[in-house]
């Protein structure tokens, strides 16, 4: 992935905007932002973003590649879609945020310890394996994503919650060993592999 990053810097020395347009989901919309700031003001976690969407768009146009792609900002998106429905220019802002996060991840520039990034990766890996999400495995993995000691602390803190879920039959300890899954997991994996291959082939051309 690191190699790909180098390639991109060379290809778009002067125009990060063009790079975003060619490689990021919804990227062709970035230039249409009119800097009104409604997105930033509508974001439920707005105050937690180093650079709210409005700023990210301006930074892309200003060529601030490194700052944008290594930012934790877009990882703060809760996918509430408030920005999308309020944007007077109809920009698919939520998708652009997901797209930027994904592109940063693909280039190996995403912040390594960003918790949502870690969770998102766990989620994906969990689903790819069996075709459906195994909430317990996902949860346990999440508790330990910051290491064993932190994990035990988190697990203890979350234990009453788990117990509650258990009591109401909304969690099953047996899930951990077997659990839900689809029959044709192999087929699904083949589909995803093919989809990824198509996407990577296109990315190389872009």
């Amino acid at each position: 992935m690191g190699d790909m990053n180098v390639v991109k810097v060379e290809a778009y020395r002067n125009s990060f905007l063009k790079e975003v347009e060619a490689n990021v989901e919804g990227g062709q919309w970035v230039k249409m932002c009119m800097q009104c700031g409604v997105c930033s003001g509508s974001c439920p976690l707005g105050s937690a973003w180093d650079h709210p969407p409005q700023e990210l768009f301006m930074m892309i146009r200003a060529g601030k590649r490194e700052e944008v792609l290594t930012s934790s900002s877009m990882w703060m998106c809760t996918s509430c879609y408030n920005c999308i429905v309020r944007c007077p220019r109809d920009l698919p802002i939520t998708h652009i945020m997901h797209g930027l996060a994904h592109y940063a991840e693909r280039l190996g520039l995403a912040p390594k310890n960003q918790p949502t990034r870690k969770f998102a990766k766990l989620f994906w890996n969990n689903l790819v394996k069996k075709g459906r999400v195994n909430e317990l495995k996902l949860g346990v993995a999440l508790y330990f994503m910051n290491g064993l000691v932190e994990g035990i602390k988190t697990a203890l803190k979350m234990a009453p919650l788990g117990l509650n879920m258990l009591k109401t039959k909304r969690m099953n300890p047996l899930e951990y060993v077997g659990g839900h899954g689809i029959k044709d997991a192999a087929g699904l994996q083949a589909i995803l592999k093919k989809a990824r291959a198509i996407e990577l082939a296109k990315a190389k051309k872009a």
């Binding site: 230039k31 009119m34 301006m58 601030k64």
Partner: protein, 737 residues
């Protein structure tokens, strides 16, 4: 005119009959006010009632009709009789709709109504049906001053409507500023690309039109007369002068570019590659589709547009206003580059992007789609860098200082109106010593100055709120950027409107009728020469510059320049100015004939002089909503607060009124006065009222002047009630004899 014969008619419809004693009102009309003939009717505005009045005019010789019914603003079609003077006693909106229907209010309500009946009959007695202006002339030719897009559009539109036009253009060709444009901002959907400027098409249309005569290399060296009879000297570069006659004038003298030499900090004058928008147009037009190069022959690969260069700024020497077109113009010019070569970097640095008009936002989007970069920021400096220009600016979104390299910097400088001389500063020559001025556009011979008055920032005044094309010189209409900053599309729409106003003025002047706002009024002011002291107040204060002075300094009223506001009448200290249907007496006698109860009756009287344009309608609307006000009020509508003569106040206070309320329109920069300056002049005059009150030993609280808007439906009655309260506090007037 035959003897005065007054017919008074009391309507009993709309509940008047139930609330008021009509017989009593009839007695007041005949016994107190001496109407010659008095009738009542159940429903006066119906066909039968109207016929009754018509019969009296035909058979009984009635030539003054006092209609005591609804407000003068209602049923104007029904109560419209030719050749007679008509007055209206407002006993519906003015009485029964603003008073409670209770036993205890019955007496004061009846008194109110009787006073209004009395006032209507007395007013009729002092009125004369207006006769036609003998100066009226019919000249259908229109003069258009300026051959730019606005002027050409006005000329073409007027010619299309069948009116001959002369265009006077000081340059050697038609086209104005827009002749330099490569293309214009699009005017039609999808508003995506710059389009043909349209200038060549306009010039062709004018050349093909036999109704339009063009005077190139020419200026105007004298304009005199009035609507329907303007005489204009047109002088060519060589000095040859011809006098032509016109019915109306359209002034479309446009704008010139702000002097960018005042902006050295933005690199103008220091680098040949810093240009104004207008200069870039010329460069682009000269290149005629070829690649644009810098002055030193380098292909331009990056352009920065600096918006609001020397405008929208409070700095000394800068323009404080927004010129309106420049954001769209920069988008258009960035497209000149992008359409030719999308790899050219174009950055528009703006603090607020403003693209007015239907297509403005679409055009902005189109620019974004084409890859024009828009940066919210403020440019502090443009300097010569190592490789081209360095543009230093603060990025307002990212809050950081940035230096951007550019091969070309384009400054969006503002528009300055070509409005001639500022008549507040350059006084008119003394009579007999009049000389033409090369700085003036129109060279008017008018008493008040050679050009059209200015509103602010050097743009010609026009009534922004109510009648945007009207200037304060009747029959002369400013249009396009001389009036306010505007783009081509707006200028063309504006020019079409101005042509129509010119036509309207010609047709009205021919019949001796007033134009806005007293459309169709036949009356005009006259004065008693023997009483005149040549004080010049009327000639100075007339908001429309309608009054000139003769060699002996007597006023010369130019009827068709007059808007019939009566400001001259209000100004006259010796009260020699009057209209046939509006005079010191028509109002003065009304207020003197109101019944002033003896002091022991404890019934105060409050005189309300309300502007007929805003305050009076507001009070009518309050009545429609049944908002009550004091029974002590007696309201007389006036044409404008400017027409109020101080004698009315003195008379009222001397005859025992306890309070006087005056309601005019908003004055000042954002004026709403229909006569522009009338309300302002009135307020100046009224500022001296306190002295009058002191000489009479009366409390200052007894007179109040207010600005009232037509929307002040709840406030206007409240102001009357406030005066009733004030009177309660200071006590009744000692002048009740």
């Amino acid at each position: 005119m035959a003897d005065v014969k007054i017919g008074a008619y009391i309507c009993k419809g709309c509940g008047i009959g139930e609330r008021l004693d009509a017989k009593q009102m009839m007695q007041v009309a005949s016994r107190d006010a001496k109407a010659h003939l008095v009738r009542e009717h159940e429903f006066l505005c119906n066909a039968e009632g109207v016929q009754m009045i018509k019969n009296d005019i035909a058979n009984e010789g009635v030539n003054r009709v006092a209609i005591c019914a609804c407000s003068r603003r209602s049923k104007t079609d029904a109560f419209n009789f030719e050749g007679v003077a008509i007055t209206r006693g407002n006993i519906r909106e003015g009485v029964i709709w603003v008073r409670p229907n209770t036993e205890e209010a019955r007496e004061t309500t009846q008194e109110m109504a009787e006073d209004y009946v009395r006032m209507a009959v007395i007013e009729a007695k002092f009125m004369t049906p207006p006769s036609k202006n003998t100066e009226a002339k019919y000249d259908r030719t229109i003069l258009v001053v300026g051959g730019g897009v606005s002027g050409m559009t006005s000329a073409i539109e007027a010619a299309k409507a069948g009116y001959p036009v002369h265009i006077v253009e000081k340059a050697s060709a038609l086209g104005g500023n827009a002749a330099n444009f490569l293309r214009r901002v699009p005017q039609k959907s999808p508003y995506a690309n710059p389009e043909d400027s349209g200038v060549a098409g306009l010039i062709k249309a004018i050349q093909a039109d036999s109704k339009i005569k063009v005077h190139l290399n020419s200026t105007i060296t004298r304009t005199s007369g009035a609507p329907g009879r303007f005489a204009v000297d047109i002088t060519t570069e060589s000095g040859a002068t011809a006098t032509e006659h016109f019915g109306a004038i359209v002034q479309a003298t446009g704008f010139h570019d702000y002097d960018a030499n005042k902006l050295p900090e933005l690199g103008y004058g220091k680098s040949p590659n810093v240009v104004t928008q207008l200069e870039l147009e010329k460069m682009a037009k000269a290149a005629n589709g070829a690649v644009l190069k810098t002055k030193d022959g380098k292909e331009i690969k990056s352009v920065v547009f600096v918006q609001c260069a020397g405008q929208r700024s409070s700095k000394e020497g800068h323009l404080p206003y927004c010129s309106g077109h420049c954001c769209s113009t920069s988008i258009k010019q960035a497209m000149y580059f992008k359409d030719q070569n999308p790899t050219i970097d174009t950055n528009v640095i703006y603090s607020d992007l403003r693209t007015p008009g239907t297509g403005g936002e679409e055009f902005y989007r189109s620019g974004q789609r084409k890859g024009v970069t828009f940066t919210k920021g403020v440019v502090s400096e443009v300097v010569n860098g190592s490789d081209g220009l360095d543009v230093k600016f603060k990025d307002l979104i990212l809050n950081q200082d940035v230096v951007e390299k550019a091969d070309l910097v384009v400054l969006a400088t503002g528009m300055i109106a070509n409005s001639g001389v500022n008549i507040d500063e350059v006084k008119q020559d003394e009579p007999g010593e009049w000389k033409s001025s090369p700085e003036s556009v129109l060279n008017l011979s008018y008493r008040q100055g050679k050009d059209i008055p200015l509103l602010k920032h050097g743009f010609n005044d026009s009534h922004f709120i109510c009648f945007p094309y009207e200037t304060r010189r009747t029959g002369i209409y400013t249009t396009g950027p001389v009036r306010r900053p505007m783009d081509l599309l707006q200028a063309q729409e504006d020019a079409t409107g101005a042509a129509l106003k010119a036509i309207q003025s010609i047709e009205s002047a021919a019949q001796g009728l007033a134009v806005h706002p007293r459309v169709g009024d036949l009356s005009f002011p006259s004065f008693r020469r023997e009483g005149c002291t040549q004080c010049k107040r009327c000639t100075v204060e007339c908001p429309f510059g309608a009054i000139d002075e003769d060699e002996q300094r007597f006023p010369v009223f130019n009827e068709s320049r007059c808007r019939r506001c009566g400001t001259c009448m209000g100004a006259c200290p010796v009260r020699v100015i009057s209209f046939e249907n509006y005079s010191v007496d028509t109002v003065g006698q009304q207020l003197k004939n109101i019944n002033i109860p003896e002091e022991f009756e404890e019934k105060p009287r409050i005189l309300v002089l309300a502007c007929e344009n805003d305050a009076y309608p507001a009070l009518d609307m309050a009545a429609m909503r049944k908002i009550e006000y004091s029974a002590w009020a007696r309201i007389i509508p006036v044409r404008c607060l400017g027409s109020v003569n101080l004698i009315w106040l003195t008379d009222a206070l001397n005859s025992g009124y306890d309070g006087v309320v005056m309601m005019g329109c908003q004055k000042g920069e954002n004026y709403q006065c229909h006569f522009v300056k009338g309300s302002e002049i009135a307020q100046v005059r009224m500022s001296k009222v306190d002295d009058t009150l002191k000489t009479l030993n009366l409390e200052v609280e007894r007179v109040a002047t207010y600005e009232v808007a037509i929307t002040d439906i709840e406030r206007a009655p409240r102001l009357i009630n406030d005066m009733a309260e004030a009177v309660k506090k200071v006590g009744l007037s000692p002048f009740k004899f």
